[in-house]
Amino acid sequence: MYRLLRNTHLLLGLFFFSFVLLYGITAVHFAHPAWFKGVWTAQQTHLTIPPSSAPNARALARKVMEELDRRGELSTVEETPEGWSLLIRRIGTLIEVRYDRNSGRAEVKTRRAPFMNVLSWMHEHPGISYSYFLHNVWGVVIALGSSALLGLSLTGIFLWFKIHGERWLGSVLLLGGLAFGSILIFALRTA
């Protein structure tokens, strides 16, 4: 049993090392955004798409992505007097499209986030019901990584408990952390 759990802790920890590190670093990024410098880049271009090829916003989004070799999913659609204003998103990239139905002209602005913002975007992008395949892949990774974190925590407790010389101080830290957390959760929930 001990050997199995020790190996589980080791293999889970090593496989999800980069995932846990990513979550730790991006949590620090959320807490201290000013510590991390980065600049969004923007690229602007235009296309001509005949209205017959874009009978609706979804078709327009698909056409823009095809023409410009972009990927992502349609996020928001706004009807404008001239046509549509669309936002296509994927983690780290925003594609804004302004389409004029009369002229068939589509102004496309692609904005790309800097490195740290992409990692933070990954941090807060859970879920598996997106229309863009890679977003769902990442949602599965988050679910697996979070389950691994649970597994690492529980196996870690077991492994610590097997070290007799560490039980006293370890118990103080574990119970102290649990008591501290529980009191605060109670205070925050009931205020």
């Binding site: 080791l10 090593l14 496989f15 102290g176 957390g181 929930r189």
Partner: protein, 198 residues
């Protein structure tokens, strides 16, 4: 050296056990639950409070004055995005705590405020808890302390990840084939995903 790093790894995990459970629970639940906006909205509790609106204040100033007057527990002044005029031109202001949202509407003609108190479900509460860093916390002791605990846990994740790899690399188990494969596959997978998404 290894002995001390092992202690750091272990103690950090024990001290942050509560938060690790919350991080894991939020990660798992946010994968499968619909977004809060798409979940059924809980029943709001409505009450009215006398409030005389002082004249010559901007919406921002009025919202801040309202915040001071109401003194709702565990709230901080509303961000700009939480201040707006409704279709009757009444000022609506959102105040948040980790556990609930207060929607305050100033009814100037009636000299009072309508306060809707909307309590979050358990998962939304946990989600708020996990992202409550000191910079986002209201200036009250439970939120401040919790904010520090979240930040400590963020640093602890980094510490545990790095010390864990060090511990593996400093023992004979570094030669274990499956361990090497796990580490390389995990890092490689993340780099590959980053490349694909860019």
């Amino acid at each position: 050296m290894t002995k001390w790093i092992k202690k750091v790894h272990m103690y950090t995990g024990l001290l942050n056990f509560t938060m690790l459970l919350i991080f894991a629970a939020v990660g798992i639940s946010s994968t499968f639950l619909p977004e809060p906006k798409q979940r059924p909205r809980p029943q709001a509790q409505v009450r009215y409070v006398e409030f005389a609106s002082p004249g010559n204040l901007s919406d921002r100033e009025l919202a801040d004055h309202l915040h001071k007057t109401l003194n709702l527990p565990l709230t901080r002044p509303s961000p700009n995005g939480g201040i707006r005029r409704n279709t009757q031109n009444e000022l609506e202001v959102d105040f948040f705590t980790p556990a609930k949202r207060y929607l305050a509407t100033i009814l100037e003609k009636e000299s009072r405020v309508r306060i809707e108190e909307i309590r979050f479900d358990t998962w939304q509460f946990a989600s708020y808890l996990h992202e409550l860093t000191p910079s986002k916390a209201a200036p009250h002791w439970p939120t401040r302390l919790w904010g520090f605990y979240v930040e400590l846990s963020a640093w602890s994740l980094i510490t545990m990840a790095l010390s864990g790899v060090y511990l593996w690399a400093s023992t004979s188990r570094r030669r274990t084939r499956w361990a090497k494969i796990s580490l390389v596959a995990g890092i490689g997978g993340l780099i590959l995903f980053y490349k694909l998404i860019r």
